[in-house]
């Protein structure tokens, strides 16, 4: 059981994350800044951000790589989780805001609102906000999937409506009267769980939390895909009607994995927001969801670990590239996608697999004399 769950690759990825979860805080906090081994806080936040993207990539790989649902709207679930965390962080500001209102965040005072909108109730509590970071994306995915999968919307049509979903949410969140800070979003966070959000120690702790959640995401993902449930997902991906005619309720399987994946994406968003210090409607931008698809394609879809690897590598590339030639990043990303599709159709991990695996010996055609007989 444990061996199926932790294949070699997952084991390596889990160990790397575990080492990082311990080593990064030490390098950042204990090693003095004069030492060449010291890790500056901005690097900690940057890698922490990559890990959040990696969690999002694992979530996307579950639906796309294993069940064939190409979601071009997973950024919406990520952003919703981020907003849930952002709302908690806004309410932690309390009377320290510019307007000094103990209950209302600044933007509400600015809009001349008198009372806290119902949607904001309860977000002063961290456990509630953490729950909502999963439940809100989960509920959206469930409602969306209920309608789409039961109507048997598949393939490119499904991809287009997921894209429309995230676009519609972006437009909605841009509106001030939606009640989530309009196009400024939520920012100026002060502290999380009582700790200063800007302090090096908090950053290191958030990093470790991201690494631990990534480990959990990989383990939960492996549990799902190595079970018989996972085999059914792959069956649906490869021959949906065959799965149906075998008696599997395809729409419920899709709904289950889509909802779980959205909740995981929400957790990634919730970890992301305190590390970058802001959440705004731009996170719902369709391009973000498409970028996530590219990470998974680069790393190797249907591998989980590959998706995480792709997210980290592409985003590292993005950091380097946008430092040097900022205006060309989207072209580079597009080129990367074309090149990967042409030369590494199974992504980095898939290519490693084909290198390692010896070509299978040809199978002799079924001999006339060994035709099967049905035993009475």
């Amino acid at each position: 059981m444990l061996q199926t769950l932790l294949d070699k690759r997952t084991l390596i990825a889990v160990l790397l994350c575990a080492v990082a979860a311990v080593a990064v805080p030490i390098l950042s906090l204990v090693v003095p800044p004069s030492s060449p081994l010291h890790m500056p806080p901005y690097v900690v936040a940057l890698i922490g951000k990559y890990l959040c993207y990696a969690i999002l990539a694992v979530a996307l790989d579950l639906v796309w790589g294993y069940c064939g649902i190409l979601s071009l709207g997973h950024g919406a679930f990520f952003a919703l989780g981020g907003y849930a965390m952002g709302m908690y962080l806004m309410r932690q500001i309390g009377a320290r805001g510019v307007y000094g209102n103990p209950l209302l965040p600044d933007f509400m005072v600015f809009l001349n609102w008198k009372a806290l909108p119902v949607a904001w109730w309860g977000f002063q509590s961290f456990p509630y906000a953490a729950l909502m970071a999963m439940l809100a994306p989960g509920a959206l995915a469930f409602a969306f999937g209920w309608l789409a999968f039961r109507s048997r919307v598949t393939g490119v049509y499904l991809s287009i409506i997921t894209q429309a979903m995230t676009y519609a949410l972006m437009l909605a969140f841009f509106r001030n009267d939606m009640g989530f800070g309009g196009n400024n979003g939520l920012t100026d966070f002060k502290d999380i769980l009582g700790f200063n959000i800007q302090s090096d120690a908090t950053r290191a702790a958030l990093f470790s939390a991201s690494a631990i959640v990534l480990i959990l995401a990989l383990l939960v993902g492996r549990f799902l895909v190595t079970s018989k449930f996972g085999k059914v997902l792959i069956a649906i991906r490869d021959a949906e009607s065959r799965a149906r005619f075998l008696g599997y309720r395809v729409e419920y399987y899709k709904l289950a994995v889509f909802t779980v994946s959205a909740m995981l994406a929400g957790v990634a968003g919730a970890l992301y927001v305190p590390q970058v210090g802001i959440i705004n409607p731009g996170e719902f931008a369709p391009a973000n969801s498409i970028e996530a698809v590219i990470w998974v394609a680069v790393g190797g879809r249907g591998t989980l670990v590959g998706a995480a690897l792709g997210a980290v590598l592409v985003n590292f590339g993005k950091t380097v590239f946008t430092g040097a030639l900022p205006e060309y990043w989207l072209f580079a990303l597009g080129l990367l996608f074309v090149l990967v599709t042409l030369f590494l159709p199974k992504g980095i991990l898939g290519a490693l697999d084909s290198l390692k695996r010896k070509p299978a010996p040809p199978i002799e055609p079924a001999d006339a004399d060994v035709a099967p007989k049905i035993a009475g």
Partner: protein, 251 residues
């Protein structure tokens, strides 16, 4: 008064009509299959053979007509998964399986067992699962290839694997769509033998163009034409029927 044809039949179709955008694929099709019976369905292209299978398996809802399974279950009210769980198996014309999974996993997925997501995620497999898979692999002569990806099998082996999946499903009724399309003569004859073996303890409906194959099966034949039954009986009798000759055999 109880309708005997209805209550004693495994499959009962009466006055089934289906149209697509005004094109009438089935017009008042009526057909009765007894438990344990094997039936061959023939007819020219466009006669409605595949549409009939789609109606029975829940892929297509008829505009009118009665479709009953086992005398009581109204198949027009159920979806594909529910009908499959009742015990209707379907083999497609082109071998259709889960190509990126191993031969034994293909059988495992087909094996009669709870189909709900909760059962496949948390449930324990039945204790005799392995044994049942072994038996089926033995039957279809793929034991040595059990760990291979289904995609790596030869065309003939894929056909047998799909038949093995149907056996694993253990359906009461098997619908087989043109099983010998693209097969050599020898393979065709072996498939006929195999289907007759299966028909010993399953009801089978075979749709086929190949007359030699239908003759080899030696079962009652139903001729479809323009969405309705034109003739029914032994092959020799229907092939002597002047109406059948006119629409189909005489050309």
């Amino acid at each position: 008064m109880e309708n005997l044809a209805l209550t004693q039949s495994l499959l009962y179709l009466d006055g089934v009509a289906v149209s697509f955008d005004g094109y009438k694929a089935l017009r008042g099709l009526s057909l009765t299959l007894a438990p344990g019976e094997m039936r061959a369905i023939i007819g020219p292209n466009g006669a409605g053979k595949t549409t009939m299978m789609d109606v029975i398996t829940g892929k297509t809802r008829p505009d009118e007509g009665v479709v009953l399974f086992g005398g009581t279950e109204d198949l027009t009210q159920l979806d594909e998964a529910a009908i499959a769980q009742l015990g209707v198996g379907r083999k497609f014309q082109k071998p259709t399986m889960f190509e990126s999974q191993s031969v034994e996993d293909n059988i495992l997925l087909a094996l009669k067992a709870p189909r709900e997501a909760r059962a496949t995620l948390f449930g324990k497999p039945a204790p005799d699962t392995r044994e049942r898979i072994d038996r089926i692999l033995e039957t279809i002569k793929l034991t040595a290839h059990r760990k291979r990806m289904a995609a790596d099998l030869s065309h003939g082996q894929k056909q047998w694997l799909e038949i093995g999946m149907l056996l694993a499903q253990d359906p009461k009724l098997l619908l087989v769509d043109e099983p010998v399309a693209g097969m050599t003569d020898a393979e065709t004859m072996q498939t006929a033998d195999l289907l007759r073996e299966i028909a010993r303890d399953h009801s089978v409906v075979v749709v086929e163009h190949d007359m030699d194959f239908v003759r080899k099966l030696g079962v009652k034949v139903t001729v479809l034409h323009e969405g309705a039954v034109l003739a029914e009986g032994p092959l020799d009798q229907v092939s002597a029927d002047p109406r059948v000759i006119e629409v189909y055999l005489g050309r």
